[in-house]
Amino acid sequence: MPPKAQFTREDGIYHSFCGLVSVGWLYQKIKDSFFLILGTHTCAHLLQNTMGVMIFARPRFAISLLEEADLSSAQPAIADQIAEITREHHPSVIFLLSSCTPEVMKVEFEGLAQSVSTPEVPVLFVPASGLDFTFSQSEDSVLQALIPFCPEAPPDDKRVVFLGSVNDAIADDFLFEASRLGIPVAGFLPANHFHELPPIGPGTIIAPLQPFLAKVANQLTNDRGATVMSSLFPFGPDGCRAFWEDLAAHFDLKVDLSEREAASWARIKEHTDLLKGKKVFLSADTLLELPLARFIRAAGAEVLECSTPYINRRFHARELALLDGVRLVEQANFERQLRSIAEEQPDLVISNIITANPLIGHGVVAKWGTEFIFSPIHGWAGVNTLVSLFTRALRRHARLDPLGNDPVWMAGVMPGAPEIIPLTRG
């Protein structure tokens, strides 16, 4: 039985993105993929603004745009678009993502995907709509769609599969570390290419790298009889030590990484000295918040609050156990958080990308949670990047002339809010 962790659920009046945002990294990770979103102008506008890129004239994702005339048709016709995508982008796999409007229209997505799927270019349905999925959560859906394409591993194939998309450098680091410890690796889910998916079977140990993949982990147990490792996520010296020691134990290897952990902490001492005693408030939406809070606490900071869109008692059990005593909030109410911030005066707020500048405008030192998603913070090699993300904002703020905090320097920037009352004192 997972421990009865203490957290409260509020009413979710906060700022966040929907699951479509995961496309931003997944299309780059799975290099021969194409992401087609059956959606509206809203979804298209969301993608182009949140990805903030617009660099590629023809990226490997697109919207199949539902317009007014399409609302009445029972099943949208996407065959021509699939043909166009296949012709122009030659993908090995096409992910068909749902969005809110077709969900409300009750489009039968499984059938739609099957009707345009071919053995050469499978079209896989991925539930991702904002009605049910937030931010990074739809990576979970994408990986679930990939399970049938993972070869079946025989029961005596006892190897690890790392679960979650990480970049090549991190993947190499994990491979290297595993081989050093004598842990046999079957691969990564997802792999860089559709046809490189790892074999998974009853002997497979699934080692989750990302905290937002509870459902696919569960399904791998149900469908393939794989064992999902329960440990910390591999962030920070403390997380890495637990992760690798627990993984080794699954292969009957007894390893003691206490020295490794100590050396890793020693290397970032300059940062942890700065973090010691600092009050940190996490109010973000990437679903990385629990392990981030656990790490920053281990690094010596005081975590005032950690809020995240969803908490899974089982999948997050080990992280939750280490966050005992910290105020944990699911689906936070943002106005309440602003009041708490004014009251508790955090030294650093990990916010989402939406609220960072306004928080700074209110005198708060804020850092985008989103940056943690896009930075290589996994494993031993990621420790320095991870801790630097926390300290950079603190250091930079300390360097800037405090005169800049006078509201006069923001006058005229925001027409609707001529005067801003700081949340911070002094």
């Binding site: 009413d11 700022h15 929907c18 990226p59 697109a62 745009l65 990308i353 027409p415």
Partner: protein, 564 residues
Amino acid sequence: MRLAYWMYEGTAHHGVARVMNSMRKTHAVFHAPQGDGYVNTIFTMLERTPGFPAMTTSVVSGTDLARGTLRLPETLRQVEAAQHPDLIVVVASCSTILLQENLEIAAHQSGLACEVMVYDANPYRMQETAAAEGLFTELVKKYATSQPLTPMPSVNILGPSSLGFHARHDLISLRRIFKTLGVAVNVVAPWGASVDDLRRLPAAWLTIAPYRELGRLAAEYLEAQFGTAALCDAPIGVQPTLRWLDAVVEQLNTVGARLAVPPSPLKLPPLTEFSLDGMSAPSNVPWFARTADMESFSGKKAFVFGDATHTVGVTKFLADELGMPIAGAGTYLVKEADWVRSQLQGYVSDADFLATDEFQQVADRIGQLRPELVCGTQMERHTGRRYDLNVMVISSPTHIENHLLAYRPFLGFDGADVIADEVSTTCTLGMEKHLIDMFGDAGLELVESPSVPSADPVLVSNGKAAVAPVAVVADVVKPTNGHAPEGQPSNGVASSAGAPTSGQATPAPVVNPVWTADGEAMLKKIPFFVRGRARGNIEKYAREHGIATITAEVLLAAKEHLGA
């Protein structure tokens, strides 16, 4: 249904957000799934808002739909408690509008003291600008109240808004002009206006609404309802600004003459008073355009694409004030296409006019034209990068790079200088081009060789050339002597330039001509900053003439044919 990659306009709820975030003590509430709150980011990131944007998403989740939960009344209560707004505007989203809920009743149930307005913006029929203009007009109709005119001449400025293209700068420029004229600004809206300010609109003598997209309908309403004179022209460029100033003075004097106690008529002060120091030319454009160096602009073709206001204003400015030929123009505001086309009569033929909101079509047109200057949106910058063309951004949608700190208006005399500067720094300049053209290889080598710092005054005088050594450093290792390597046949498929590749009488369609080594080497002699365009033109020539292989000879023939 179509495949969409990028959008020019935002959604209807983004349009609503722009108006609400412009105004004081107003708030937008989106009855929408969580992801639709993404519009917040556009404000906090592009405008770097130090406050929280005036918008809240009242989240609709799959579970809510299954259970029939409606969170809207509770969200409205919380917004009122936290923000104390005078007005909350509620909009449905692309998905929730299909649920056909009665939001009026839900809003009413919340029992708020402040005003709540459910704005019917059907996202399938309306996009950003229509929704913003529709809402703003509705608000002006709702609040504007009949009242006596101000005793002294005054104007309303309608249209500046949050995330409007260079709107804050334009407003500064307009305020400077009115200060110089001695005319008070009665109300600016929606930028910084409260609903009380909207009530005061009819006190002004004149309303100016420089943007076709926002404020014009409200100005027309004020004229029809309260008799407030309206001036809806955009003072973009020096000549239009002078005409606009005359109209402002004339219209204000007409109003003044009707008053019981007419004040003394307004007179246009000496033009130097409009300059920053009050003693110089109000704009440097007329002299700049006449300088010898600008001669080369008379041959540079421009393509202009954007919203309605800026497409019209910038096209005329380039043609009338800088003397540039216009290769084509167009707008993504399809609903404004007729107006833009009629405004550009005599500047752009119907064949060269483009009205589409499909990014790819605009990219294709630019690819065909390969103009020396593209004035467009953020999207055209990407197209420009692909074809190696000079692009300046003259319209929304923008990128963070377009949100600069310095004063960069597009309207008024100050705006004319800003646009002209942008044109001349975006295009490659004149004299340098001649020298490099004339000395061909020599000039090119100087530019490309990293071992020769930009000692040549010709090169350092131009920022573009000065940075070039870094940009083209990769070219240096390749031979630039123009001869095909020894022993390699000068592939003679098209031995006489322009001859078809086969014996057929009509040229066979050639999709992608290939370049021989000597063809490539010859191409290298063309200055780097026009090389991309030259390559495109020569390939186009080859395709049109059914030539599959581009040799040095073909290149020369093409050059002759194209008059290069």
